[in-house]
């Protein structure tokens, strides 16, 4: 049975993240990226905070082993951010690693064991070339029964798109529209990997190739947007980024010491589904997203329509469309159309991926769940800057591991 409330309430009192990028961090290791994010999080606490005040660390890192040849990364990070002898735990749930770390931190405080914890995540991916990154990411799928047959990670979401198109008659243009929107949002976010609209990119790449494009769709239909796994093209996929994010959680009864404007975590959820996509009867929805979001909404006492700003897991454009349906914002089969109508824009019914999403903000796998919390924290305090959503009251972070075998959710309130 899942309880409808926690024994002790938990808030976010600070958040920090590095910029996500493919080149900026080439000279740094994951330890340096996470330290940078953790220090920024500490500095963001209104009434002052030093990392030594934390009682524990929960860290998401999908594959330090493959990317950096380093295991035992939790102890290394605790050492590097200077919190010894406080306990540190690495949490691994593929792309949902730090969403899980956030939930673990909440549970640890709610249990009464700790008052303040640092949670977050990091991924240093640019140590490997694209083909080795493809191999490593595929380890998040069922290696024996999916990857052994030639499925890549983009291939799994391509299969979801294939089944979705077949069931609902949607077309790739709806996917392209998600990419255009998220790049427009990313262009307004100083932490984003790509701070450029699709038109900015079309002009830049076009000049190099002596091609010109009259609009986004002409560019996205061109050879400069090659196929990765049909029907998904390059600009349907999130980039390979390095980066880290950290969030400081505190029990409500101690949070007031640190800030007058904490962001309350009013609901959490997590769910699992079959490891292999082929074991699911319906692959046009992620069952774990439905279960995790319903549990989080119920704990928060809200409905989907109450959400004003949503960070959803758009590792591929199709994933955002499916997520906006699974989370209850739109009926099944309507997510793409709703986005086309502007209902998920910064001034829409619900602002979806106001920070640019994984598509434009970037997706250093283990850092993503915590980076979502970073943006929700800023949004609900009115500090998001150029991509601020007006009057944001309720925010959610929805973090998906691989093709939905793990999903985490939190609901936040200002």
């Amino acid at each position: 049975m899942i309880a409808l409330s926690l024994h002790r309430k938990v808030s976010v009192i600070g958040a920090g993240m590095t910029r996500f990028h493919h080149k900026l961090h080439l000279e740094k290791q994951g330890r340096e990226l996470f330290t940078e994010a953790a220090l920024e999080a500490a500095e963001s606490v209104d009434n002052g905070f030093t990392l030594k005040e934390a009682d524990a660390l929960y860290l998401g890192y999908f594959s330090s082993d493959m990317f950096e040849g380093q295991a035992h990364i939790s102890a290394l990070m605790a050492d590097w951010i200077g919190i010894n002898p406080k306990p540190a735990v690495r949490v691994e749930g593929a792309c949902a690693s730090s969403g899980m770390a956030v939930n673990m931190g909440v549970l640890a405080i709610a249990s009464g064991l700790y008052d303040v914890v640092v949670v977050g995540g990091v991924e240093k991916m640019r140590t490997l070339d694209t083909s080795k990154v493809t191999d490593t990411l595929a380890m998040a799928a069922d290696v024996s029964y999916e990857v052994a047959m030639g499925f890549t990670f983009p291939g799994l979401y391509a299969a979801i798109a294939s089944a979705y198109f077949n069931k609902y008659g949607s077309t790739w243009e709806q996917l392209a529209n998600i990419s255009i929107k998220n790049h427009e949002n990313g262009a307004l976010n100083k932490k984003a990997h790509y701070q450029e609209t699709i038109m900015d990119i079309a002009k830049k790449l076009g000049e190099r190739k002596q091609m010109s494009f009259s609009d986004e769709m002409e560019f996205l239909n061109s050879a400069l947007n090659p196929m990765v796994a049909s029907p998904l093209r390059l600009f349907d996929c999130c980039p390979i980024s390095d980066g880290a994010a950290a969030v400081i959680l505190a029990a409500d009864d101690v949070a007031k010491k640190y800030t007058d404007t904490p962001v309350k975590i009013v609901g959490i959820g997590q769910a699992s589904d079959t490891m292999a996509l082929h074991d699911r009867e319906d692959i046009t929805a992620l069952m774990a997203s439905r279960v995790a979001s319903r549990n989080a909404y119920d704990m928060a006492g809200i409905k989907a329509k109450d959400v004003s700003v949503a960070c959803v897991h758009d590792c591929f454009t199709i994933a955002e469309i499916v997520a906006t349906e699974d989370l209850g914002f739109f009926p099944k089969g309507q997510g793409g159309k709703a986005a086309m109508e502007g209902r998920t824009g910064l001034d829409g019914d619900v602002a979806v991926n106001a920070d640019g999403g994984l598509k434009a903000k970037g997706h250093p796998v283990g850092a993503t769940g915590a980076a979502m919390v970073y943006d929700i924290f800023k949004q609900l305090r009115g500090e998001a800057g150029d991509h601020q959503v007006a009057d944001a009251e309720v925010g959610i972070a929805h973090n998906v591991g691989a093709a939905g075998a793990t999903v985490t959710m939190q609901v936040y309130r200002r």
């Binding site: 694209t130 083909s131 080795k132 493809t134 191999d135 595929a138 024996s144 029964y145 999916e146 990857v147 052994a148 047959m149 030639g150 499925f151 890549t152 983009p154 291939g155 391509a158 299969a159 979801i160 798109a161 294939s162 089944a163 077949n166 090659p226 196929m227 990765v228 796994a229 049909s230 029907p231 998904l232 079959t274 292999a276 996509l277 082929h278 074991d279 699911r280 009867e281 692959i283």
Partner: protein, 123 residues
């Protein structure tokens, strides 16, 4: 005992068979094989051989391929829904082109040096 394991499935492929499990309690069929029935929780399994005919439920042509599949690039992969009502992943032998969802296919077994890859060809 190597029944109902990854090894038994892989040995099945090498012998050009699709070996899965059948729950003796609720008769649920599973491919690949499993030790615990996800429907009823039953732990008594018997071996079940699938006949390899099914329809394509989803497919994709992979252009950015895994290291192991670089030589085949682009190659088509798919989720095939077998007649017996279970899904399985496999290569789709369609000359690197997409096949229509709903197309009928049958299992073929691609022998490589150190393993056999499950594939399907249109019928």
């Amino acid at each position: 005992m190597t029944e109902h394991t990854v090894k038994s499935f892989m040995e099945g492929l090498a012998n050009e068979t699709l070996k899965g499990s059948k729950c003796t309690n609720c008769s649920k069929l599973m491919l690949p094989p499993r030790p615990i029935c996800p429907s009823c929780g039953g732990k008594e399994m018997e071996s079940h051989e699938f006949n390899g005919e099914g329809t394509v439920k989803a497919c994709s042509v992979i252009h950015i391929a895994l290291t192991r599949f670089q030589d085949m690039r682009p190659h088509c992969v798919g989720i095939v829904w077998l007649k017996e009502g279970v899904g399985v992943s496999g290569l789709i032998l369609s000359d690197g082109k997409e096949v229509e969802v709903g197309s009928k296919v049958e299992a073929v077994f691609l022998k490589e040096e150190d393993r056999t890859v499950l594939a399907f060809k249109p019928v």
